[in-house]
Amino acid sequence: MTALRKLQHEFLGYLLDSSATGIVGNIESSPRRSAEQRMTLYADAYELRLKEALSTDYERLHGYLGDDLFETLMQQYIENYPSHHPSLRFFGRHMIDLVERLEPFSHLPEVAEITRIETAFGNSFDAADCQGVTLDQLAGLNPEAWTTMKLCFHEAVQRLPQRYNSFKIWCALSNEEMPPQKTAQETTWLVWRQDLVSRYRALSNAEAAALDVAFSGGTFADLCEALLDHFSEEETPRQAAGYLQQWISTQMVCGLSTCQKLG
């Protein structure tokens, strides 16, 4: 190991754990500022910068947990998930892993759900752009192509199955209102991006089932079959077409694969 590499290891080691003071022996002290005091400036800035990133990404989670618990969460996150990406934008991406395994958060299921909501909005914000499928393209398909048609969704589209009223808690926090008490409320929520703005809505059980099929690579025929659990045989094709139309008109669909080329 070169002297420079050793120095960098020791420097970073101190930022990650200030009891690892090997770096201090490499630093000049001045009459008014010891080497350790000078290194503390870097350690403090490191922690502050990472906390700022987490506070930005998980603002509502912070609001729900309050300052003390969120501080504990941030400390634990910084200790357990050092940054391996050049951009701070991606530093907090493992938060769900921590809240699902660390007490007391792991005993508060709504905390994981709120975390997933915030992560979903972060993902949606800068997900790759795509040229959405248009209703005209859909209308141009041969009737036979519908049966084998598969959908490709925009990366911003995310389904969030939730067991509690966490989205309502999140909404209240976003509006700076007192969040409601946690109550059991099974709903699948949808987050997507339309005209560059992230949006959300609750899904009916039928639409959630249809999306599950479409996301897992099922054809339009498979999707219709899944909807037979929710609608009559007569209603099903109209409902399925309605969902498809809505997904396309809200820019959720970025590709259709069929045996027929799109016009």
Binding site: P86, S124, D129
Partner: protein, 296 residues
């Protein structure tokens, strides 16, 4: 320390006077198209797959010249160069078509872990050889010269064998790269390490300097901290004037990253830089001249 006015006949691209592009100002810029010669973007903010950041970037770039400024190149790291990062950077360069691309003479990561801070290097021959080799590789990959910027620093390594400006200048010469001189960082480091900022200015080759940064800083009592959360202070303005006398017309911008004022207020601060330059340099050298499309 005597000030060395140097040779001000150096020909370099001159963009004029710019500001750092910040999300707080997107709406104002798009709605008002304020008179600013150029914007400097933080490269990493736009190294994302898509969405609003890139949309805003494209719309603003359509009307303004831009340069790119990064914080994660980690040119001094002893890790291998991060080729994924460089690939993303190159892709962004192709999109933005910037006047130039800069980062810092520092290291930010080692062993694959990022500090997200600009950490100083020891100023010695081994480090020079290491950094020069990497700058050459980066410039070869990007197909263009890069600018490296001086830091504000708070520590001095026992293994340093020369002063910062000798180290900086030697790297720029050997790697054949350009210099982004941060006037505030010179002031901050001069205070923290007890050197004369004029020694620094006089130690830098005139023809290597392509850009100036100006910014505010804060104090923790004994040390000055490069926080970019205040207006540029009077001594830094004075140092800027001195730098203009030595280096001539150099594209200048103000960095503001915290406690960000409304755009018109920041624009007024930039006008101070324009006024100082107008008193020191002839009008003809202050007309932006640049050999690339100012609008994409």
């Amino acid at each position: 320390m005597q000030f060395d006015e140097g040779d001000s006949d150096v020909t370099r691209p001159f963009l004029g006077f710019g500001l750092g592009l910040r999300t707080d100002h997107y709406s104002y810029i798009l709605e008002n198209r304020p008179a600013v010669d150029w914007f400097e973007i933080l490269s990493e903010n736009y190294m994302v797959p898509g969405g609003k950041p890139l949309d805003h970037l494209d719309r603003i770039r359509a009307d303004y010249a831009m340069v790119m400024h990064g914080v994660s190149l980690s040119i001094g790291s002893t890790d291998a160069l991060n080729m994924d990062y460089l690939k993303d950077l190159k892709q962004l360069i192709q999109r933005v078509q910037p006047g130039w691309v800069s980062d810092h003479l520092c290291w930010t990561s080692v062993n694959g872990t990022n500090s997200h801070d600009l950490l100083p290097l020891p100023y010695n021959e081994d480090t020079i050889a290491h950094v020069v080799d990497r700058v050459v590789q980066v410039q070869d990959y990007l197909g263009q010269r890069i600018l490296l910027e001086n830091l504000s620093s708070y520590v001095t390594y026992k293994s340093s064998e020369m002063n910062e400006w000798a180290f900086f200048n030697e790297i720029a010469r050997r790697a054949d790269c350009h210099i982004l001189l941060d006037i505030n960082n010179i002031f901050v480091s001069a205070h923290n390490h007890h050197f004369d900022p004029l020694d620094y200015l006089n130690g830098i080759d005139i023809d290597r300097v392509m850009q100036f940064h100006l910014a505010g800083h804060s104090s923790n009592g004994e040390m000055l901290i490069d926080t970019h959360d205040h207006d540029v202070c009077d001594p830094v303005w004075a140092l800027y004037g001195t730098a203009l006398k030595r280096f001539g017309a150099v594209s200048t911008m103000i960095e503001r990253d915290d406690n960000i004022p409304e755009f018109p207020q920041l624009r007024q601060e930039l006008a101070i830089a324009e006024d100082i330059a107008a008193k020191i340099l002839p009008a003809e050298v202050l007309a932006p001249k640049m050999d690339y499309d100012r609008t994409a």
